[in-house]
Subunit: 213 residues, 4 copies
DNA sequence: AATGAATGAGGTTTCATTCAT
DNA sequence: CATGAATGAAACCTCATTCAT
């Protein structure tokens, strides 16, 4: 019923409301991807309104994923821009807080990876990749300084490989279960995943920084 | 009233025919997941017949993924059982041949990860995990010997982490494109992926083997 | 719930059931074109079933129109095949009974003419025209004999022009009202249409037969 | 608070701009009825503005049709008011120029006939019919004089029947194709239609004038 | 008077799954 | 065992119309 002005920022706000609704819905029923109708209802807008903001359902999911990702990058870049030297533990904390502990992050990333080939227009995919590249470069360069890597490319690679590890490990260990609705299993699994991830990342970073090439 | 006794192997044969058909179809049209009707037609059976062999479409995809995985494990276990000491390059070769070079392996793995929460019965999921665990333990133990790791758990972890890296990196770099139909891009990308993967795995293994814990 | 055999005739029967349902529905609510969902419900089949028999809603409407038309042609051809000489009054009676008195004939013809360009595949349109041409030729040739026209082409033309008159006049006079739900107006109009049509057809036929060319 | 007094003619002007836009759009893409949004864009007004001038989309189409029709009538009445005796060829020329050669006339007439029962308010329909009746009477009376028909009713009837023939024949022969975008077919068809129409009208008029009643 | 974002009913279509034969 | 017509839920998307600004 709201009739917001047409400004660009209002548009972004509205988009975020829709993404929030979609995410909330998915968290409430993790066993199924919410349909457009449900998202609309949850956001208290009409079904058609969604299509004013997203080209398709998959586009919306991609946007949600992008938002998650961008939040992580923002935090990473912010920390890496500070003068105090970063440690591996800082990275772990950032990862934990903005990826592992965000309940929709990894499921959504997995879904997007799996469904990307369905309802995503090449344009949307390209925009997404563009944004990713930008942040990846920025963050990679900063990491390179922080960890004294030979060059910026190493920073980017380290970042990508870390993310790959985080995502792949999650799919291996936890992804098969529907976002751990079952408390018992979830409780058992999550530490495992976190511990395993910690171990893996430490190995990767150690190798990345120390092995000669 | 006894169920046909000799049919068990025939049943497996038939299952494989269906999986072959599904895979072949997907390779022919990588941009879309083949529908049950198409698979049935390609395998020259009726739609309903598929449901005599698989509980659902997702179950079929999971079976295809499992078959891919088991082939890899068989090769790995076979190699690791030989007395000649393995090198990291041996691992790379196995990975390349049985994972990276199998065109449906990683897309299928991605899809299965993304759709696992949809039409898979808990039983099927459990069976799959059971099989995986067995091979993982076996292979992990062998790797432990080959690479002189502290204990079998390290072998298992190394294996999982490597696979996670392979899968995650593929999703990051190549998975968004529909199995690289575009020759030009594919040609450009694949080496990148392979190279990047090589770099990543070497770092991981180096760190895993050398860092103290 | 019925599970008929796959025979061609059964298919035709089923098609007719669907057409009947659509027609009946339209007669019950002449102010709106029935939706596919309603037709399905009325025919007690599932929505998807309709698409096993018709490519689209428009295709269904076209089929209904074709059925109407074919019934008229069948009657005309049957009568014109009999040895007794036909009179103009015979034509009028046939027209009245199989076109004017069939409540959906002219509305449907009008609708089809107006919507033909929307959801009809070229193939369907071509099939329809093919069928029309065949009957038109047959009936035209017979009329040519019956009314001693110079050649068969005159018979075809006479038929087309008569039909054009019937349809055009109906659109002018009665088509704008939703199939005459209003009794008062309908009662007033229908005789008008019939009378006017009678007059028009007599003029057309008189001119067609008598004027020299 | 008085409504703008000078605006009545401005209102008509604006209406015509909208009709022009709609017609132009339809001519550019004959395969689809232009949507309100497109019309608005083409006329450089906002979507909502259209509804300040027309009650509905169908209302707009009806208005366009009415404009076409009124232009034809004006020409007919003008010619029939001149003292020189009219011939059938004069009628043919008028028909050709103001109906057949106006590319949107017959498609629009067909569409209006087919959709009349949808979004037209009874008021609009009545106004349209009122205007039609007036011109029909006027023109009919003039034709009656020109062609020495028994009475004015015959003139009206002749006019209606002729129009019915024109419209019906067009729907039969050319209406199913989307306004003949295909040059080849169009070229083939149009002469056919014109010739067939010529033949039909001559028969109708011959019978109308000569047969005794 | 003009705007255009929002509406939401309406439509088409797909497709995994069932079940009578 | 095999079949494939039927199912029917679910999805997506369009677009004429409204109404707060």
């Amino acid at each position: 019923m709201a009739r917001p002005p047409a400004s660009e920022s209002a548009r972004e706000t509205r988009k975020n409301v829709l993404l929030d609704a979609a995410i909330a819905l998915w968290l409430r029923h993790p066993e199924r991807i919410p349909g457009v109708a449900e998202v609309a209802m949850a956001a208290k807008v009409a079904k058609g309104t969604i299509y004013l903001y997203f080209k398709s359902k998959e586009d919306l999911l991609l946007a949600a994923h992008e938002r998650n990702t961008m939040i992580f990058f923002a935090a990473l870049i912010k920390r890496a821009s500070q003068p105090e030297a970063m440690t591996l533990d800082d990275m772990m904390r950032l990862t934990q807080r903005h990826i592992v502990d965000v309940p929709t992050f990894l499921p959504l990333a997995t879904l997007v990876a799996g469904l990307m080939h369905k309802g995503i227009t090449p344009e949307s995919a390209q925009v997404f990749e563009q944004h990713m590249s930008e942040r990846l470069s920025t963050a990679g360069a900063l990491l390179c300084q922080q960890f004294k890597l030979p060059d910026a490319a190493h920073g980017v690679r380290l970042l990508m490989q870390s993310y790959a590890l985080i995502l792949g490990l999650w799919q291996l260990v936890g992804g098969e279960r529907p976002m751990c609705t079952n408390e018992e299993i979830g409780a058992m699994l999550h530490p495992n995943y976190t511990l395993g991830l910690d171990d893996a990342l430490r190995s990767l970073w150690y190798g990345m920084i120390n092995r000669e090439r």
